[in-house]
Amino acid sequence: MTTILPRKDVVIVGLGWTGSILAHELTDQGLDVLAIERGPWRDTATDFNIGYAQDELRYSVRRDLFLQPAVETLTMRNDTSQTALPMRDFGSFLPGNGVGGAGVHWNGHTWRFWDSDFQIKTNLTKRYGAARIADLQVEDWGVTGTEMEPYYDQFEYLAGISGKAGNIKGQIQEGGNPFEDPRSRDYPNPPMEMTYAPTLFANAGRSMGLHPFPTPSANMSRTYVNPLGITMGQCTYCGFCERFGCANYSKSSAQTTILPVLMKKANFEVRTDSEVLHVDLAAGGKSARGVTYVDTSGQEFFQPADLVLLCAYGLHNARLMMLSGIGKIYDPVTGEGTVGRNYCYQTNAGVQVFFDDKNFNPFIAAGALGQTIDDYNGDAFDHGGLDFVGGAGINCIPTNGRPIGTRPTLPGTPKWGSAWKKATVAGYKSTLGFSSQGSSYATRTNYLDLDPTYKDRFGRPLMRMTFDFPDNDIRMSNYLCDRMEEIAKTLGGKQYNVGRRKKGWDSVPYQSTHNTGGAIMGTDPKKSAVNSFLQSWDVPNVFVIGASAFPQNAGKNPTGTVGALAYRAADAIRNQYLRNPGAPLVQA
C-alpha cells in the first residue's frame, strides 16, 4: 500500500554535496524543495564529536560512516567472459551514506579539470591522430574549460579551498601550478603550512626541473567565512580526514558549508532514512511524475514532484536510471544505449622511500596537506613519442599517521611477529610516500548494467560492474612509475619501493572512491545519457548530478568538478529550465 504525499516543486534524491548545492540554489529561487536521503542525519557535534571522532577502529577499520553492502552493493567482474559476483564487503571503493554523503569523509583534494580534459577527443585527435585513441571510447564533455571556470570558482569559494593559483587570467603565478587553465582569481585561502615530507618532495622535484605546488585543499588553512556567511575553523592537522567526519568544522562538507543555512529555510525539507526505489514516469516515459521511496518501517510513499534531481553517489544515480527506465541501458556488443556507458575509475600507483636519519612526524597531517607535481598529468606533456594518452598528478600528501593503519616496512619484512614490530617502529617516523593519481579512460567493454542474477533486499537487480584497467592506462601508469622512480632516487634514502599498477582490477584492497561515468554528459544523445547541463535526454524533467556525468576520469580527484557541474546545472535550471519547465535545454 503506497501512501501518496502532497506534491513538491522539486524532489532531490540524496543530500550530499550536489543535493545540498542544488537544494540551496533552488530554494533561493523560491521553489519548494524536498530531499530524500537513504542514510541518517549527521551533524558535527553529535556524529563527529571531538571526543570520539578520531576513533580509528570504529571509523577507519570498521568503516562506520560508509554504505553497508547489505543496504546496497553491486556485482563485479573484470570482463564479459566472467560471471559477476556480489561484493559482500566494500573494499576497492567505499561509497558514503547519510546526510553529507561521501563529502563527510573525504580528504579534501579539490581540483579543476582542464580544457584539454573536457575537449579530450577533439584535442587528442588533433594532436596525435585518431589512431592513437582507437582502442578507447573517450568523449568530449560538451563544455569548455572557460565555460566551467565560474562554476569552479563558485565551488571553491563555497568550500574555502586553501591553495596557490598558478595562472590568474593568463598570468603564470610563481609557486602555483603552471599547467592549470586560467582562473579568474586566487583561491579563497592561502596554502596550508607545509609538513616535512612534502617539503622534501617538492625540493627534489624542483631540483629536477619539475613544478611542485601546494595541493589545493578543502582543509582550512585559516578561519574562513564563506559566501553563505558560514564560518569554518582552522585545521588542527590532526590527520583524521579520510574515513572520518571533521570535529573542528575545518573540512568542507555539506555540513560545514551549506546545511546550517539550508536547514533553516521554510521551503526546504529533508526526509532521512528513506530510500528512493525508483523514479516514476508518466505514460509514454517522457516525463517523471515523482519518486517512490520506502522508510525504515517498510512503508512505501509516492512523492509527486515537477522536477526530479538524482544527486546520489554516481554509481547509484546510474542504477536508479536503470531501475526507472530512464534512457536505454548500454550494450557493449552493439555499442547502443547510454546508461552504464563509459564507467571509469582511477589508475593509481605508489612509491615509498625509506630513510634512516629522518623523522617526518607523520601524525601531523591533514587529508589534503601536501605537494603535487602536474608535469606528467593529462596532456600537460607531449605524448608524441609515447604509446599512451593520459597522465597523472604525482602527489606527496601524507594524509595521516594513524596508529593502526600506518605501518610502513621495508620490502621483505615479515608480515607479523617481533621482526615486523621492530620494523614498524623504525618505519613509522622515517618513511616518505608519494603516489600517482592516474587518469582512467573509457573503453567499449568497461561499463555498468543490471545483474541478471543477484537482487537487493527489495528484490531489485543489483548493478553489475564490468571493469579492468585498459592497456592504455597501464602503459600510462608504468610511465608515471618510471618518473616517480627518478624522484625517489633524487630524494635519496636507503631504499625505495615502487608499487606498480597491474591488470586484473581487484575489488578487495582499497584503491579509490573515484567511480565515474554511467550517466555521462555530452552533445550526442546516442552516446551520452545527459546533456551538458546534466539534463536527461530522455526524460527532461530529470537531472542527474554527480561524477556519473564524467565521460572519463582525469588524473585528479573528482569532487571539484562534481561541485562545479552541480553549480552549472543549478544555474541552467534557474535561468533557463524554469522559463519553460519540462522542455529540453538542448535540442537533440
Binding site: D43, I50, T223, V225, G229, I230, T231, Y249, K264
Partner: protein
C-alpha cells in the same frame, strides 16, 4: 484620542474601511508586530516548529510547570473572546479576561511599564494573527499554587502596577533603552535574581540569575562578571547577530536573540546598549582567591586534551565559530551553572542572519568525570586574565543530576 483609535479599530471590521483608516490601521498593526518582537511573545507562546503564538513548551519554574497559552484570536482555545480592555488589564495588572489571575511567569511585572499606546498596538496586531485551535492546559502547578487566587496574595506582596518613569536627567536614548529593558524587553525576568517567592530582587537588578538549568549572566556594567569589558558596539553586535568578540549566544538567550533582539531596530539596540552600560558600578577589581595549584595543573592537562583543538591553547577561540574563553562572560559568572551545563550537555549557538553557522559544543558528559570537569573549569576560570571562583565537583554533580534525573 487613544480610546478613539481603539474604538475606530474595533469597528473597522464592521464598517466599510476608508483608505486613510486602513492605512492607519495597517500602521498600528505593524507597530504592534514590533511590540511583539520587543516582548518576544513567540519565545514562550510558540512551540518550536508550531503555529505562531498557538501555545508553547512548558516553562519549568521552581514552583512547577506552566504552559504558555494559545494567544491567537481563536474563540474556543485562544483569546478570541477577550476585549482590548481585558488585554490591557492583563498586561498592566496580571488579571485577564473574566478576572483570571496570571502567574508571573507571564512577565506582567515588566509589561506593566509599557505605554497604553504600545499595548494597544500589540493588541491590534494580535487580533490579526491566524486563529489556531489548540487547547493548552496552562496550569500544571501543585496545590496550593494551582489556585490562581493565590496570586492575589503574591501581587499584594510583590507587585505594583506602574508606568515607566523617564529620567529627565538622562538622554532620550538612555530612556528609550531603559523603557525597552524594564518594559517590553523584560530582561530582568531572566537576568534579575528572584526572591524565594519568585519576585525580582530590585536591589540586584540584572545582576544574573539561575533559571531552567541555565545561569543568565550579569548584564550590568560590572567589569568582572558583567558587560564592563564590552563596548557599546559589542553589546549591539551580540543582540543583533548573537556573536561578538567575547561570546556566542546559546541556550535560552539564543532563542531570545533569534525571536526578538535580532529583529529590533538598530537605534533600539543602541539604546539598550547605552542603558545597560550605565548600570551598576565598575567593580572589576575584585579577584577570586587563587585556585589550588594542583587543580590548575590537572585542569590544564584536561583542557589541552579536550578543549584546545577548538578553543585554542590560549583560550582565544576562533571568531564566530568557537567562543573565546579569555574574558568570556559565561566563564566569568560567579555561578558556574551554565558553564557546567554546556560541558555536560553540549550546546548549539544561535542562528541569525549575521551568524548562520550554528556551531555546536559537543556533550562531554560521557567522557569527563565531575572532578575532571570541575578541574578544567577551574583552570579556564583562572587563566588568560579570567579570575572567577574555583568550581567544585559538587557543582558539576548538581547540574549532571538535573540533566539526567
Amino acid at each position: 484620542m487613544k480610546a478613539l483609535a481603539a474604538s475606530l479599530y474595533a469597528s473597522a471590521a464592521l464598517l466599510a474601511i476608508t483608505p486613510a483608516l486602513a492605512a492607519d490601521q495597517a500602521d498600528q498593526i505593524i507597530r504592534g508586530q514590533y511590540q511583539a518582537v520587543l516582548g518576544d511573545c513567540a519565545g514562550c507562546h510558540t512551540r518550536p516548529g508550531g503555529k505562531p503564538l498557538a501555545g508553547g513548551l512548558p516553562l519549568e519554574t521552581p514552583f512547577g510547570a506552566l504552559v504558555p497559552p494559545n494567544i491567537t484570536p481563536d474563540h474556543e482555545t485562544g483569546i478570541g473572546n477577550w476585549s482590548e480592555i481585558d488585554f490591557r488589564n492583563m498586561m498592566k495588572t496580571g488579571v485577564g479576561h473574566d478576572g483570571v489571575r496570571l502567574y508571573p511567569a507571564m512577565p506582567y511585572p515588566a509589561y506593566t511599564r509599557m505605554t497604553e499606546q504600545d499595548i494597544s498596538d500589540l493588541w491590534a496586531y494580535l487580533t490579526t494573527v491566524e486563529p489556531v485551535s489548540n487547547k493548552v492546559e496552562v496550569n500544571q502547578l501543585p496545590f496550593p499554587l494551582n489556585i490562581r487566587l493565590s496570586m492575589w496574595g503574591w501581587n499584594l506582596l510583590n507587585f505594583t502596577e506602574a508606568s515607566f518613569e523617564a529620567d529627565p536627567s538622562k538622554s532620550a536614548e538612555w530612556n528609550r533603552g531603559a523603557y525597552i529593558v524594564q518594559g517590553a524587553g523584560h530582561c530582568g525576568t531572566c537576568h534579575t535574581p528572584k526572591s524565594f517567592l519568585g519576585a525580582d530582587q530590585d536591589s540586584s537588578f540584572l545582576q544574573g540569575a539561575s533559571l531552567q538549568g541555565w545561569f543568565a549572566p550579569d548584564i550590568t556594567n560590572n567589569a568582572q562578571s558583567g558587560l564592563g569589558r564590552w563596548s557599546q558596539e559589542d553589546v549591539v553586535a551580540y543582540l543583533k547577530a548573537g556573536v561578538n568578540a567575547h561570546s556566542i549566544a546559546s541556550g535560552p538567550m539564543a532563542e531570545a536573540i533569534e525571536n526578538s533582539t535580532s529583529k529590533m531596530t538598530d537605534p533600539d539596540l543602541k539604546a539598550v546598549a547605552v542603558y545597560l552600560k550605565s548600570l551598576g558600578s565598575d567593580t572589576g577589581n575584585a579577584q577570586a582567591p587563587k585556585p589550588d595549584a594542583a587543580r590548575m595543573v590537572a585542569g590544564e592537562a584536561i583542557y589541552h586534551d579536550n578543549c584546545s583543538a577548538c578553543h585554542g591553547g590560549d583560550g582565544a577561540g576562533a571568531g564566530a565559530l568557537f567562543p573565546t574563553l579569555a574574558g568570556n562572560s559565561i566563564v566569568a559568572q560567579g555561578n558556574p551553572e551554565t558553564l557546567a551545563r554546556v560541558v555536560l550537555a553540549g550546546s548549539q549557538a544561535v542562528h541569525t542572519a549575521g551568524a548562520p553557522t550554528t556551531p555546536s559544543m559537543p556533550s562531554l558528559a560521557w567522557r569527563l568525570k565531575d572532578q575532571e570537569i570541575a578541574d578544567v573549569l577551574t583552570y579556564v576560570r583562572g587563566s588568560w586574565g579570567n579570575s572567577a571562583p574555583a568550581v567544585s565537583s559538587e557543582d558539576i554533580a548538581a547540574v549532571r543530576k538535573e540533566l539526567v534525573p
